[in-house]
């Protein structure tokens, strides 16, 4: 059967349909998010999902909410770009987001996060050591409000091959001396390495070395100069670090270490899980943790990390607050830490729960705390941009495109431009 429709009727019908669609509550994506009030969407790196899934049944049973886990990006700058695109568009598909330090600093100032002061109970806040709480107004808050609760305590640990070295180098001088003894460049064996690639990693290592010289990379001061000079010497004078470290990411760094080509290195705690996951290669002596070699200002390593925040436009803000309260509580935080080393922090509840378990990260955390190794992360209000500036300036020097003085002056100019 065929139905004849005149042009006039077709236009009328089309116009009416278009008008109906335009005036009805057409299910735009943002509105869809706001309808799912029984679901809480948590955006966090995939490697943490299993640990979170293990504790969720209690939450879901108690609240009647369903938690949906979305994968997050591991790189802070990449995460910032992905999340800020949604926030700037006035939307958020997520209710709770795991944010890096530099992300929270920017997002809180942009008004894209929800204050959490009335959400987190005092007993949870009291569970954090004073040193971490001191950093809350700087890295987790803005203008007196709390916008993020840390779930990670990332310190650059000094991993070394106890099975091959016996004793680790304890000073920069020993790094050079032992380094030259153990390096066999012809066979691709190096004393140390790090991921110093541009794009947010160069500054990590320079800041680590600067914490041992008393420098601040965002000041481009004498301590920064000393740190950069030592790094340059490791690459070009002592030749104990592969030149390709300047184009290396964390995967390549870890791979080199686990290929028995590196004797010691700075790395984040997640490497412990990576190494243990490589069951054919792993043994505790291969990933022993020692104090970072002392520089002119003694030993040091800065800490930073990721934490939970709630976007201001979270589709389910009440559910988000409940979830963040649950995940950071003194009862659940230790369970997360036992499930994934990324969640290990020096919180009283976590340290009590994991005491005597022989967990190498917990032991290292105690060792570092006792020896006053842990230094605060260098702060800059425009952290992400400042980190890029340090990368650009330092790599000019490290790749021999500028002298140290030129690189420092260039870095100072880049950092000054950020404030302009």
């Amino acid at each position: 059967m065929s139905v004849k429709v005149s042009r006039r009727e077709f236009l009328k019908t089309s116009g009416l349909a278009a008008a109906a669609v335009a005036t009805s509550k057409f299910p735009m994506p943002g509105i869809i998010h706001r309808r799912q009030l029984n679901t809480v969407v948590l955006k966090i790196q995939s490697f943490a999902h299993d640990a979170i899934k293990a504790v969720l049944p209690d939450f879901e049973a108690a609240t009647g909410l369903t938690v949906q886990l979305e994968p997050g990006l591991s790189s802070g700058p990449e995460h910032m770009q992905e999340v800020s695109t949604a926030y700037a568009a006035g939307d958020s598909p997520w209710d709770v987001v795991s944010d890096p330090d530099e992300g929270t600093v920017a997002f809180a100032r942009a008004g894209w996060l929800m204050p959490l002061d009335d959400v987190i109970p005092q007993e949870t806040l009291d569970d954090f050591p004073q040193g971490m709480r001191d950093a809350f107004p700087i890295w987790h808050g803005f203008e007196g409000a709390l916008y993020r609760v840390p779930h990670e305590f990332a310190v650059g640990y000094f991993f070394y091959r106890k099975d091959l070295l016996g004793e680790p180098p304890k000073t920069w001088e020993e790094v050079a001396e032992i380094g030259m003894q153990v390096t066999d460049a012809a066979n691709g064996v190096w004393a140390t390495t790090d991921a110093i690639i541009r794009g947010g990693l160069t500054w990590v290592y320079v800041a680590y070395l600067a914490s041992q010289t008393g420098g601040n990379v965002f000041e481009m001061d004498a301590g920064t100069a000393h740190a950069a000079h030592f790094l340059y010497d490791m690459l070009n004078v002592y030749k104990i670090m592969p030149p390709d470290a300047l184009n290396m990411n964390y995967d390549q760094q870890n791979q080199l270490y686990m290929s028995d080509k590196v004797m010691f290195m700075r790395q984040w705690p997640f490497f412990q899980s990576v190494a243990e996951g490589n069951t054919e290669w792993f043994s505790p002596e291969k990933v022993a943790i020692a104090l970072p070699p002392a520089g002119p200002a003694g030993t040091g390593s800065w800490w930073g990390g990721w934490g939970f925040s709630v976007p201001a436009l979270a589709p389910n803000p009440d559910g988000a607050k409940e979830l963040i309260k649950f995940l950071t509580s003194n009862e659940v935080a230790p369970k997360l830490a036992q499930g994934q080393s990324w969640f290990i922090m020096p919180r009283t509840s976590i340290l009590n729960a994991m005491a005597g378990t022989g967990n190498p990260i917990v032991d290292a955390m105690g060792l570092y705390a006792e020896n006053n190794v842990i230094k605060p992360r260098p702060f800059h209000a425009r952290a992400a941009e400042a980190q890029y500036a340090v990368d650009d300036a330092m790599l000019q020097y490290l790749t021999k495109q500028a002298t140290l003085q030129e690189a420092l002056a260039f870095g100072k100019q880049l950092l000054a431009d950020l404030s302009a």
Partner: protein
């Protein structure tokens, strides 16, 4: 009476309609096309205009206030060493890789146009690099050039040459050009092959009769006849590659230093750090470069046509 009534209705209808049949058709067409045109305008014209407006503002939502700065962002671009280096490498990359893609593309197309066994298989194999996603290719080549594990580095080491490609500014730039040429030459070759197949065999026979050798035939017959196509493909490759981002991002992250940073990478970095005003100004600069190259291309294309 009936006929008169019909005529009366017709007359009445004609009188009430102010548009002719043709005009009504145009109106209908316009109404039907309107949603698509509006969508297109909304997704292209609006962002374009918005980008231009933003380029005159200092706007970072994390650091208010949002303020009009006139040409301030463009002045900053002029004095920004990292951006200047990025523009420089972008142009080197675009012109360098396009030139070599065309040279090798013509060579490969000529080979694929000749008669030999398994020619169709060779044509298919030729396309493999082009079919590989750029990021996959970039990561693969990154490992090949790696100073510790790299196959290329190892090969050179066995020949007595120790060279770390990706940490030397010149080496890293060359490495990226090599990958770009390797990746896109097959596409250029297959496009030029289509042009070569249109060149009449009789012209070559006539040239042979006149005593021309293969090189003279290529130079005097093949090249002039495929020149318009070559210019068109060259223009396409120039403009297309100006927005390159994935290759340097995945291979060097713009390093060493910022030697292999490209304009698109700088824009991405500014967007990631919420500097929307400055990122917009960079985008406008990129648009102007694309426009300038486009104009040069159109002029070059016309000259080639006139010369022919």
């Amino acid at each position: 009476m009936v006929a008169n009534a019909e005529n009366s209705r017709t007359v009445t209808r004609v009188k009430t309609s102010r548009l002719s049949l043709n005009q009504r058709r145009y109106v209908a067409a316009a109404l039907l096309l309107a949603p698509v045109i509006l969508l297109r305008l909304f997704t292209t014209l609006y962002p374009f205009v918005q980008t231009i407006f933003l380029s005159f503002e200092k706007y970072n939502p994390a650091f208010p206030p949002r303020q009009y700065v006139g040409l301030g962002n463009f002045e900053k671009i002029a004095s920004d060493i990292v951006v200047r280096s990025s523009v420089e490498f972008t142009l080197i990359f675009v012109f360098g890789s396009t030139l070599f893609q065309l040279i090798f593309g013509i060579m490969v197309a000529s080979l694929l146009n000749s008669r030999f066994r398994l020619r169709n298989l060779a044509r298919t194999i030729n396309l493999i690099p082009w079919a590989i996603p750029m990021v996959v290719a970039a990561v693969g080549w990154r490992w090949l050039f790696d100073g510790t594990y790299g196959w290329i580095t190892d090969l050179l080491h066995r020949l007595g040459i120790d060279y770390s490609w990706l940490i030397d500014p010149v080496g890293a730039r060359i490495a990226i050009l090599i990958v770009s040429v390797w990746k896109s030459t097959p596409f250029v070759a297959i496009s030029i092959l289509a042009g070569l197949q249109g060149v009449s065999e009789e012209l070559y026979e006539a040239a042979r009769v006149d005593g021309a050798n293969a090189w003279q035939s290529f130079w005097s017959i093949t090249l002039p006849l495929i020149m318009p196509l070559t210019v068109t493909i060259g223009m396409f490759m120039l403009v297309w590659q100006l927005a390159v981002f994935d290759l340097p991002y995945a291979m060097t992250s713009g390093g060493p230093g910022f030697a292999t940073s490209v304009l698109a990478y700088q824009i991405q970095q500014q967007v990631a750090t919420l500097n929307y005003g400055y990122a917009s100004a960079l985008s406008v600069v990129m648009f102007l470069i694309v426009g300038l190259i486009g104009i040069i291309g159109v002029v070059a294309f016309r000259r080639v046509q006139v010369a022919l």
